[in-house]
Amino acid sequence: MKDLFFLAFIGYVLLLGLKRPFLWVLLYVYIDILAPQRIGYSIITTLPLSLIAFAAAFGGWLMLDRKEGARFTLRQGLLLGLLAYCWWSTGRADFPEEALTKWDWVWKALLFAIFLPLTLTTRARIEGLGLVLLLSVATIVIATGLKVVTGGGGYGELNFFVDDNSGIYESSTLATVAIGLIPLLWWFVKHGTIFPRHWTVTAFAAGLTFAALLVPVGTEARTGLLCIAALAVLMLRYTRRRFLFIAGAGLLGIVALPFLPQSYYDRMATIAEPGGDESASTRVAVWKWTLDYVEQRPLGGGFDAYRSNRFTYVMPVKKTEGNTTAIRYQQVEDKARAYHSSIFEMLGEQGWPGLAMWLMLHALGLWQMERIQRRWKRAEAETERWIAPMAAALQMGAVIYLVGALFQGIAYQPVMLMLVGLQTGLATYCARIDSARSALGRSVSRRAAAQGKMRGAVAA
């Protein structure tokens, strides 16, 4: 039944795309995020949906799109450089088989992020992409939020549509993405034209925000809590009554406390004392190992190079018998532990050049969004006043992602790479408006010059 439902929806979008091929780009975004082929059971699991959607999106753009205003930018160049570097490092990887498995999805995510801005040539397309991206993630977030409210949850215990703890269906990743998209969600409430301003849109956004905030609670993902804190700090910049905001946020936190389960408190307590938890202790050990590793191999060891790590560390183990709790320090041996940080993921796998490209990609994005915000913040026309708030929302989303990325290996997270594509598309669109304006300015001054000369000729 689910399979038929998904296939009907995909068929519907494929049909609509016959009239407007851009919709096939949106179809790929939907399939890549939600992965219906992994949710279904029978026929849909055998179809190469991702490939079909990508072929339709790329073919449609290549053959049917006007391509007017499509530009290749510096950030796309960086992505292309990273893609080429990853291809090269995969060929000389420490673990060739595992590296090929990761390469298999990374190249698609990078290629799509390079391609995406070429299709975002109009305001409607930018908005359409943002909305489909948001609603695809929202579908997972709504289900998660409802499960938490109805009593489910626990670290690694909450069931998503797909039960394999990969991609966006990994609890910490979902928490980061869900929190990161909250600013974009509220941009849609204020500036959206596909679903224009209406109380139902506001109510949906409020419910979705609540559900997104529940994701870190339900999954007990510590990174999610840090992302919420980052969101609160970022919102201070755009809040007029800052003290009221801080007081309100504090009050909301206090009101929420009694509703949180004890297991949540226990897990969050480990943020402050990382030594007391194996997952947190290994992070520090893996990061140290990575720094040693790149001293030997500054160009990185290819995807999944962490598999060769092995280390021992001392960890306190609590044992409670009756009323007494004894803490014994035990030596723990660990091996092949994942990076638990995108910075170290890039460093270990792609070395210093890869890390530099990745950091530059995101730093340029933050700077670009800042520049757009400042340039367009005074725009009042309906056709332009949406630009600065969208740049602000995308910048906040990027910062929240980077905070989450400090503690998770999500350097190539497809949703975040799509956000990079959206940022690039917005920047190109703004540059095109500026250049159209200056062309208009030139033609006006040329006209004035011609009229001036005419007057001069008449006077003579």
């Binding site: 689910k2 439902f5 929806f9 519907y12 979008v13 609509l16 009239k19 407007r20 851009f22 919709l23 949106l26 939907y30 939600l34 949710i39 799109d65 205003g69 040539t121 109009t122 305001r123 409607a124 397309r125 359409g128 909305l131 489909v132 609603l135 695809s136 929202a138 579908t139 997972i140 709504i142 289900a143 409802l146 499960k147 109805t150 549509f161 596909i194 679903f195 056709t383 332009e384 669109y429 095109r432 408006i433 159209a436 304006r437 062309a439 208009l440 030139r442 033609s443 006006v444 040329r446 006209r447 010059a449 011609a450 009229q451 000369k453 005419m454 001069g456 000729a457 008449v458 003579a460």
Partner: protein, 74 residues
């Protein structure tokens, strides 16, 4: 039950959004950019027309006809 509800809501909203996008005039051609380009075009034409008129009025005088010729060449 929860999964079905969430899937129905998400897909329903996406279906409406995509239908609205398909019927929207500004999806493939941006109205603002189109407007700016059209305005620049008409001003350019007006500028070259006024240059030509001036040239005609001045009886093909050197300076103005040169400017008009440059405009026309563009």
């Amino acid at each position: 039950m929860i999964d079905t509800l969430a899937l129905a809501l998400g897909h329903g909203l996406m279906a409406i959004a995509m239908l609205r996008l398909v019927t929207r005039a500004g999806l493939d051609e941006d109205p603002l950019l189109g407007e700016l380009a059209a305005e620049a075009n008409s001003k350019r034409k007006a500028a070259s027309a006024s240059g030509r008129n001036a040239a005609r009025r001045s009886g093909g005088g050197g300076e103005v006809s040169g400017a008009a010729a440059a405009e026309a060449a563009e």
